[in-house]
């Protein structure tokens, strides 16, 4: 009896209306397409969660006017840089100091890479007029320390030029960090500074965009 039924069913299927068959196929195909599309979209939706979330915290704020420069590294880390410190550095192999800005609320803004700053005491007579304009009268000069090439901290000094250890980029600190060697596509921006009570204080925004130029 079951056999009989199956045969009958098969028979019926065979003589089905071709129109109904095509409609059913179209509906099924549309359903498969919609499901596949929804699956792809929801995967992308979930995948978008891999993009890191930007957190707003005080230590990640960009450098601002009125910030005081503090040591970024070394035994004096997070202490305010004084004119005496800069004078002492002048006699070293590396004549500059790597600094972070500290806000008036005493937050060291060290969690934003582009807040890494190079500060040096240099002879104002050697500076170009534009450079001197944003330096302090004593000759305190500051630049973004993040190389425009691939984002290393420019940390070396050779033949009176500022040298990046990663790919040999060279900057002329007396002339708005003009690139004088290596593959660096642009100068690092200068940071206007002044000296107040022996401390180095930020006097203006970066004169360009800090960070690797990629």
């Amino acid at each position: 009896m079951a056999d009989h039924e199956a045969t009958a069913h098969h028979h019926e299927h065979h003589h089905e209306d071709p129109q109904a068959h095509a409609t059913r196929r179209a509906i099924l195909q549309a359903a498969i397409g919609v499901s596949a599309g929804a699956a792809v979209l929801s995967t992308l939706w979930v995948g978008a969660g891999l993009v890191p979330r930007e957190e707003k915290i005080p230590s990640k704020e960009p450098v601002a006017v009125g910030d005081v420069l503090v040591f970024a590294t070394g035994p004096k880390a997070e202490q305010e840089i004084t004119l005496d410190d800069l004078r002492a550095a002048q006699r070293e192999r590396i004549p500059f100091i790597i600094a972070f800005p500290k806000s008036p609320e005493n937050v060291v803004k060290k969690d934003l890479i582009t807040n890494t700053i190079m500060v040096i005491l240099a002879d104002p007579a050697k500076m170009s007029p534009e450079t001197r304009q944003h330096a302090s009268p004593e000759g305190v000069l500051a630049y973004s320390a993040i190389c425009k090439h691939l984002g290393c901290t420019v940390s070396l000094w050779q033949n009176d030029t500022w040298l990046c250890p990663c790919h040999g980029g060279r900057y002329d600190i007396y002339n708005q960090a003009k690139v004088v060697g290596g593959p660096v596509p642009a100068p690092v921006p200068q940071l206007p500074v002044k000296v107040e009570g022996g401390k180095v204080v930020v006097a203006g925004e970066f004169l360009g965009k800090p960070g690797a130029d990629v």
């Binding site: 060290k110 934003l112 290393c152 901290t153 690139v179 290596g182 990629v214």
Partner: protein, 429 residues
């Protein structure tokens, strides 16, 4: 016992089918196996490392850091180094990665020089190229894990090179490193860790499986001598027991030698670099990245333009374009140099002067761009390095071609002289 297992698993059939696979006997055929041994070593040492490593940069302090507050990842490396043989195992992990990439590269050279990538083995060549690239990426994702100043700086350069890819680079770099790579980004290590120890190794295992399956299915290309010994037949020793015995011995020798190297030359002493700071030490990449590092240094700074919101600067030319062109070139090789007939036997490099000269030229390019990595140290000028990196390899290739033509040119189409006892033909002279 054997009968019991055979009843259930048909070991006899498996033996007849798989374990009798013929392996040609030639020392250059062991390069792929050395690559595989390195991978096994990396997995084994990696298991030890993962069990002791803490993928976090929360600040911790303890006796190992002299009471100084350091990132937990960094501290756990100090801890691993303090375990019995811990430093040796970590060093072995480091050296095995170097050897794996070197052996894979040499294996690829052997395939290239003997034309083994030709029909029908194009597919396995492509899988092989992806395996090498994937191995290098896997090695790179492990760089940052010790979280010392050197490791972080080297990884930062990779982050920015990734970001130099037009349009999507920054997004992809941010996804891989969970945001900008910095000494204080707490999400980076928890993201890199599973990628390095789980997902990329799984991808490698899958690709290695495909590579070996295709190799077994298609059989090895036969060395040239096989054509003389037994034309039209597969010559070699069976996987079991002969080849397995050789592999076992080679693996033990491999472990012995690499462990000795690892112990004698302890790799990457994190204490010497210290935890990450805002300052950048002078870093040099590992040798397999040194050529990119060299090219990055000689690309002129003013080669830069913007197009539809994307920047095409020196970082793009050196860090993205050159490696991409070389990878695409490698993938194209079996389609540029193909044979209609199925390739049964390896070709002699001496009979293919153009291909051999091309490989020699490429090797010279690799050596010269590596030399460019020492531009600042050696005080080399950009003009000289451009000649060395882009002209010298071409000259080398041409000279190599001329020399090969002069030496092998006369009997161009003659078979290599392999005289077999009892088969010498009088018609030869």
């Amino acid at each position: 016992m054997y009968q019991w297992l055979d009843d259930r698993l048909s070991i006899g059939k498996l033996y007849a089918k798989a374990f009798r696979k013929a392996f040609p006997v030639h020392h250059s055929f062991f390069l792929g196996e050395i690559t595989l041994f390195s991978f096994v070593t990396l997995v084994l040492t990696g298991i030890f490392l993962t069990l002791n490593y803490e993928p976090s940069i929360r600040p911790v302090s303890g006796s190992l850091s002299g009471g100084q507050e350091v990132p937990a990842a960094y501290y756990s490396i100090l801890y691993i180094d303090s375990l019995p043989f811990g430093a040796v195992i970590r060093s072995l992990h480091h050296w095995a990665a170097h050897i794996m990439i070197a052996a894979a590269f040499l294996h690829m050279l052997r395939i290239h020089l003997t034309g083994a990538y030709k029909n029908p083995r194009e597919l396995n060549w492509i899988v092989g190229v992806f395996l090498l690239v994937l191995a290098i990426i896997t090695a790179f994702t492990g760089y940052a894990l010790p979280f010392d100043n050197y490791a972080l700086t080297a990884t930062k350069i990779g982050y920015e090179i990734g970001a130099a890819a037009p349009w999507v680079g920054k997004l992809l770099s941010d996804i891989l490193f969970a945001g900008e790579l910095s000494p204080t980004n707490t999400q980076t290590i928890p993201r890199l860790f599973p990628i390095h120890v789980l997902w990329l190794p799984l991808a490698l295992i899958a690709l290695i499986g495909v590579h070996l399956t295709i190799m077994i299915k298609q059989k090895h290309t036969q060395p040239k001598y096989a054509e003389k010994v037994a034309p039209g037949k597969i010559v070699g020793v069976p996987l079991f027991p002969q080849q397995a015995a050789m592999m076992g011995i080679l693996f033990l020798v491999y472990i012995a030698v690499t462990t000795f190297i690892a112990g004698a030359f302890l790799a990457h002493p994190v204490q010497a670099f210290g935890p990450p700071t805002a300052n950048t030490p002078a870093v040099k990449p590992d040798w397999y990245f040194m050529w990119i590092y060299g090219i990055l240094q000689i690309i002129p700074a003013n080669w830069r333009f913007e197009f539809l919101g994307a920047t095409f600067g020196p970082q793009f030319w050196g860090g993205i374009l050159v490696p991409t062109v070389i990878i695409l070139g490698a993938l194209a090789i079996p389609f540029l140099d193909y044979s209609k007939e199925k390739q049964r036997y390896l070709e002699l490099p001496s009979q293919h002067p153009f291909r051999t000269s091309f490989v020699v030229g490429m090797l010279m390019f690799y050596i010269m761009s590596t030399l460019a990595g020492y531009k600042v140290d050696l005080g080399l000028s950009n003009g000289l390095l451009w000649v060395l990196v882009f002209i010298v390899p071409i000259v080398t290739g041409v000279v190599c071609y001329i020399i090969m033509k002069a030496i092998y040119g006369k009997d161009w189409n003659r078979e290599p002289e392999i005289k077999l006892i009892g088969k010498g033909s009088a018609a030869d002279d």
